[in-house]
């Protein structure tokens, strides 16, 4: 009896979780102009989307900002995680971690508003540059948080062994540490990528005129009402996020298996 209730409850929750997404994508194939009655199948809205040069330029911008910012944030974040683990004083480490998490817990509006003040004071013109810098800034802490656990798993004897065998600092980093923490680095990169693609509020504050990302564009179009081209866009983006999630879990799975295999070899 209780079992049945649990199942019904879960079915209801998942129905609510997925209904809007399915609804959105279903209407991207409707011949009508609104999301009210389904009027028969068509690819028309996808054709409009793929011939909308403004939208395509914005998609390119969004992907460029996401990839570039994720790459730079991964680099800086990994270096940050390395320096955090090298600190010897407990107080220093704790305060570095606390500072690292400030941007993780701050509301988006605060991040956006404070960055806007910051860029305006430095007289940096708003646009691609400021959006890129802001994205790098809010992606760094998640990279640090993804890399740190891997660094903690690394045993000190591994580093000692490498140094005893005559490895230089550089060799130690590129041939021992980086390969060991690479799953963390990849996870950090993927998280940074999704943070960038998902962000609306921060970008909205620092974007100025002339430069736009997908979230900002969807916001301004949605304020004007229903346009099934956005539905087509969400169809494409849903597919893209499925690929990203798939890629992320594949990498996690692969590194997990590799670790297991190593453990089997070791034992």
């Amino acid at each position: 009896m209780k079992h049945k209730f649990a199942n019904v409850y879960l079915i209801l929750v998942f129905l609510i979780l997925y209904a809007p997404i399915i609804f959105l994508i279903a209407y991207s194939f409707s011949q009508g102009e609104t999301m009210t009655n389904f009027h028969g199948f068509t690819w028309r809205h996808y054709q409009t989307l793929f011939s909308d040069s403004r939208m395509l330029a914005i998609v390119a911008n969004t992907l460029l900002v996401a990839l570039l910012s994720a790459l730079i944030a991964t680099l800086i974040g990994t270096l940050g995680a390395l320096s955090i683990t090298r600190t010897t004083k407990r107080v220093t480490r704790e305060s570095l971690l606390a500072l690292n998490n400030v941007l993780m817990v701050s509301p988006d509006v605060i991040i956006g508003a404070s960055f806007l003040i910051f860029f305006t004071m430095l007289k940096i013109p708003l646009g691609f540059g400021t959006v890129l810098m802001s994205h790098i800034a809010f992606e760094i802490p998640i990279v640090v948080l993804m890399v740190l656990p891997r660094l903690r798993e690394m045993s000190a004897s591994l580093l000692d062994a490498a140094q005893d065998l005559g490895a230089t600092t550089r060799q130690l980093l590129t041939q021992v540490i980086i390969p060991f923490i690479s799953p963390g680095i990849f996870a950090g990169f993927f998280m940074a990528l999704t943070y960038s693609l998902d962000d609306f509020a921060v970008t909205f504050f620092v974007t100025g005129n002339g430069f736009s990302t997908l979230s900002v564009e969807i916001y301004s179009r949605a304020r004007q009402g229903i346009n099934l081209e956005i539905n087509a866009l969400s169809g494409v983006m849903f597919l893209f996020s499925l690929l990203l999630v798939g890629g992320y879990y594949w990498i996690q799975q692969a590194s997990h298996k590799r670790r297991q295999r190593k453990r089997e070899v070791a034992s």
């Binding site: 959105l24 974040g77 960055f115 962000d199 949605a222």
Partner: protein, 271 residues
């Protein structure tokens, strides 16, 4: 030599900490002491604490964030609990996470369609005999959509807490003759409370600052702290007052974090 190397490695991260973590927070506090004419003043704070409009807006924002957190919690706890009992729980958990990867604006946009005059929700209401209602641009629709968006961020930490729970405690409680309800009330719930707290932290603070939902779904009837900040910064250009509200939001955030204890958040962060 090695010491200097280490320093250069730390440099980019240190620069980031100084420029994008410490400086912006300092700047928003600094800006809150300036009026429209760039004069140093305390007037923003005195205006804020003397104006009924601002205080009412803040109280409203906190009240709505509380409601959203409450509903999210009431829906999420049983969901996390039931998922935890399933066979392929990792798969179902993945299905909970998947919607968070879809752009939040697209989800809001979907609800504009569902809640519209002739939309799915009204068709359903007509079908069960109530007849079409104005759903979009009401406070209820705002709470509904905000809850919808936040649910996964509450399920994850609660699920993790349930996963950390040692089943021996539950078995011991049953062996000692506790009923299912007693076991839940005195063993399972208290032990998974850290997860609930982490979830509250992950939901309550963003709920105070949601601003595009108040526009797109709430029709500007609900003004949250986030909406007020956005309006002062981007519409009326009164950055001083906007920063003052920002400082209030930061203080609210610190209070929430202190109240929910220093739990390591185990879920993702909502965006």
């Amino acid at each position: 030599m090695t010491k200097r190397r280490t320093w250069t490695y730390f440099l980019p991260y240190g620069l980031w900490l100084a420029l994008f973590v410490i400086a912006p927070v300092a700047l928003i506090v600094y800006q809150s002491f300036f009026d429209l004419g760039h004069h140093f003043t305390f007037s923003n704070y005195s205006t804020y604490f003397q104006s009924a409009t601002y205080l009412k807006m803040t109280a409203n924002s906190v009240w709505y964030a509380f409601l959203i957190t409450l509903f999210t919690g009431l829906i999420s706890y049983p969901t996390a609990y039931f998922i935890h009992q399933l066979k392929h729980r990792q798969f179902w958990l993945l299905l909970v996470i998947l919607p968070t990867w879809i752009n939040i604006l697209l989800k809001a946009y979907a609800f504009i369609g569902i809640f519209s005059q002739a939309g799915l929700a009204n068709q359903f209401l007509t079908f069960i005999g109530i007849g079409p209602q104005q759903i979009l641009f009401t406070n209820a629709s705002f709470i509904f959509v905000a809850t919808y968006i936040q649910i996964p961020f509450m399920i994850l930490p609660i699920y993790n807490a349930l996963d950390d729970l040692n089943p021996a405690f539950v078995n011991a409680s049953r062996d000692l003759g506790a009923s299912n309800w007693q076991t839940f009330r005195h063993v399972i719930f208290p032990l998974t409370l850290p997860g609930v707290k982490a979830g509250v932290q992950a939901v309550f603070i963003p709920s105070l600052s949601l601003f595009m939902l108040t526009r797109l779904i709430g029709g500007n009837k609900v003004i949250t702290l986030g909406t007020a900040i956005e309006e002062h910064f981007l519409t009326t250009m009164n950055w001083g007052m906007g920063s003052t509200i920002g400082v209030v939001l930061i203080i609210a955030m610190i209070i929430v974090m202190l109240l929910t204890g220093d739990q390591k958040s185990k879920g993702g962060t909502p965006r």
